[in-house]
């Protein structure tokens, strides 16, 4: 009878022992696989948190007479780690005219000065995303009619409600904005929105063009024409968003390596306060995941070694008998190895399914949690405090971007480690028994 057949017979006849070993191995393999997949997912979660902190850097190229252009932007966006989201900005002053080239009236009350040539001029902000402009984010501006300006728009403008009323302008009307120094540079724009300020302006030293009522927002194509006389997108400032705030320095270095731009005249600033504030907590969370992983590994290892050693040691008597009937030591070791291999292979194959099911459960619980995430801020009726909140954020359906899956690589690692560990432990557990004489073994038995 060769060792293969004997191994097979042992497994089949000692059903309970086989089943026990199989279940234990299955549980350990499942635990390891699930752990690896959840650990990967949890780390992805931390990566997502970093991503959602929306760190960015700003290029201030105001000092470059030629500005920055689309080609440079394309180069910047191709840098690794830049996530493709960006805001382009330009600032200037321009004279307001109606579509018959008549000058429009600006607000002058409260202005500290009305500089020469600015009697009908206001500050123009060219933005690829007016919603994110500091006037709206920090200054308390609010669009009350029409829409914000987005990236792909051209020849549109947002005006202050009071300025529009004063000049009899309404949504959809066309006005002209003209460069202060170069009258050749003028653009016809359609009024696509009206805004108002919700906070009072501290006047006193504010020149006329900076008064809230005289400020206007336009798209980046228009500001490019107005400032640079160029038809393609030329801009003064770019806010470039990155996925991982840790890479900001690196990315900025790469930006400064782009040729054809006098970077020494530009100011590059990183904005990652959100990340700086959360850095420590994020690191700890990652460490917790890592430490759990290590503990699980060590504990699985100990349990595995203990169980295998014990099951081999329990067969001392059998080994003694086999030795005494003249079986070679290698055949005995091989038989045990084959047995363990067979059980391990089955356990590993099935563990893929069990851990897949577990991972799926975890994934579902994530979805369940995110759908509960809605924050509802009710308007209180018993008193009149008004709660204002960005309504779009509330509407946004938050979907979990984390998948809990078992990657092929992880599965392979568990296979290799599992098989290696099982065979090494078996061999080590057998060494002291094999070394003994059969007589000693058999006389030792109780």
């Amino acid at each position: 009878m060769n060792f293969l057949k004997r191994a097979y017979l042992y497994l089949v006849r000692k059903k309970v022992k086989t089943l026990f070993l199989f279940i234990t191995l299955l549980i350990i393999a499942t635990m390891l696989l699930t752990c690896i997949s959840i650990q990967t997912a949890a780390n992805n979660g931390v990566v997502n948190i970093k991503k959602s902190l929306r760190s960015y850097f700003t290029i201030n190229a105001k000092q470059l007479p030629e500005g920055l252009n689309e080609k440079i932007l394309k180069n910047i966006l191709s840098i690794d780690g830049v996530n493709g989201e960006y805001i382009l900005r330009s600032y200037t002053k321009a004279i307001y005219l109606d579509n018959n080239k008549n000058l429009l009236k600006i607000k002058t009350e409260g202005a500290a000065t009305i500089p020469l040539g600015c009697e009908n001029a206001g500050k123009i902000i060219g933005s690829s995303n007016s919603e994110k402009d500091s006037y709206f984010i920090e200054g308390g501006f609010k669009v009350i009619e029409g829409n914000h300006i987005t990236l792909d728009q051209k020849n549109v403008i947002l005006l202050h409600r009071d300025f529009a009323y004063k000049n009899g302008i309404s949504l959809g009307d066309t006005i002209v904005i003209k460069n202060l120094e170069n009258p050749e540079l003028h653009v016809e724009v359609i009024v696509q929105g009206l805004f108002m300020n919700t906070r009072e302006q501290n006047v006193g030293m504010t020149p006329s063009y900076d008064l809230y009522e005289n400020v206007a927002f336009t798209d980046i194509v228009t500001s490019s024409k107005l400032i640079f006389g160029k038809l393609n997108n030329v801009f003064q400032y770019g806010d470039i968003y990155v996925d991982n705030p840790e890479q900001l320095d690196n990315i900025i270095n790469n930006v400064e390596a782009i040729s054809g731009v006098q970077w020494e005249k530009c100011i590059l600033t990183k904005y990652d306060q959100g990340y700086q504030n959360t850095k420590r907590a994020l690191e700890t969370l990652q460490n917790i995941v890592f430490a759990t992983m290590i503990v699980v590994m060590i504990v699985s290892f100990i349990i595995l070694v203990l169980i295998l050693t014990f099951s081999v040691r329990n067969r001392m008597h059998e080994i003694g008998v086999l030795l005494s009937i003249g079986m070679s030591k290698s055949a005995i070791v091989l038989q045990q190895l084959v047995e363990i291999f067979i059980i391990t292979v089955f356990a590993l194959v099935i563990s893929y399914m069990t851990s897949f099911l577990l991972a799926e459960q975890v994934g579902n619980s994530l979805l369940a949690k995110t759908t509960k995430e809605y924050r509802v801020v009710e308007q209180k009726n018993n008193n009149n405090a008004v709660i204002e909140k960005d309504s779009e954020l509330e509407k946004e359906v938050r979907m979990s971007h984390i998948e809990v899956t078992i990657s092929e690589l992880d599965y392979l690692v568990v296979w290799i480690v599992g098989m290696a560990l099982c065979s090494i432990t078996t061999v080590f557990a057998m060494i002291p028994i094999i070394k003994m004489k059969p007589k000693n073994i058999l006389s030792q038995m109780s």
Partner: protein, 430 residues
Amino acid sequence: MGLLKRAILYITRKWKKTVFISGILFSVSTLVLLGLAFLDAKEKEVVELRGATGVSFSVSRNTATGGWGSDSNGSYSTQEYLTKEMMEAISAVEGIKGYNSSIRTILCLSDMEGKWLEQLQPTGHAMVDCQFYSYGCINSEYDSLFLSGALRMYKGKAVDTSIHNGIIISKEIANKHNLSIGDTIQAINDPLSNDKTLVLQVVGLFETVADKTDERNSYNEASYYDYANYAFISEMAMRNLLENYADVGYASADFFVTDPEQLETIIKKVQNIENINWKNFTIEIKDEVYEQVAGSVADTDTLIFMFILIISGISIVIIVLILSIWIRNRKYEIGIFLAIGVSKRLILLQYILEMILVSVWVYPLSYLFSLIASRGAKSILKNTFSSIIVTPQHFAIVVLTGTGLLILATVIACIPVIRYKPKEILSQME
């Protein structure tokens, strides 16, 4: 032979088996102990993480419901201002970690001899060059310029209500005029009027991080000043400096919460404060950063929770499984006991006793080991691991549930064996 003696004899004579079971028990209880400590630490960090997103709400006077006046500068709101008492009442609501409100003005600063302090890059006009854009702060730490990272404290401390005559100036201005922390300077709102001149002590220096030349920062009058020419002074001092002006007040205040998840509850409580006429004020929630990260934070939170839950669950299954097998292996022994007339209850009791005798040693050892392990991790990973603490409560949970499970596993494993007649058991044996 007594029950206890038999149990002790069994675990000492079968010491290899005892070591095996102890080893597994030890591993699992250590894992669960550390798991519990990790869970607590995770909870703490997640709360901190959410809090670090700087969620706040601002209470502002509602210009829409108030009256309007007008002067040469145009129209202005006559709505009531926030008072210090109102702000204190709001900040007393549980869950608010701090608040700030500021009164802004342009102050002229001079040294103790009355010589004007010049701005960083003077224009040559004496009356303009001594002007500093100043915030009278309740707590400068919570000023948006510091929170957004545009400015950073370089030395000294922030001004809050505990400091009556403090001022924070920029590092550059301090260098230019040889000022350091503890030095005193003088401030006046309008030197051409009969405004009060006040002596202020430099309590802190800030440095500039953001790019002030970026025109994004030019949305209000502060844009006409370089960050270096900013100053932050105690609110008490600011009130004294501006005592000649009737229309000075807090138009809005920002309140920062510890845990954004509590925001709604906090706001509800705030709205129930009686001495504030909420018709005159609006509440605006500022939680953009939190809104952005809330989803991923919740995901990560759930994942770590599930992670620890699953491994604890699985390891408990392993221990129950091993115990049942262990007892099944003693079928023959049970048969003999039954045959010599030992009662079933006594057999069960002996096994339970054995388990308890083994685990009594294991639990304290694993507690000790977890303590050492968590301290070890702490010293290796320095400050990031300070929150992981294995507490006596964790130990109690492990001991109680552990013992419960062991007894349960022993009983469940014994039942199928004990059901049989001794003859049946013994004849089943090979």
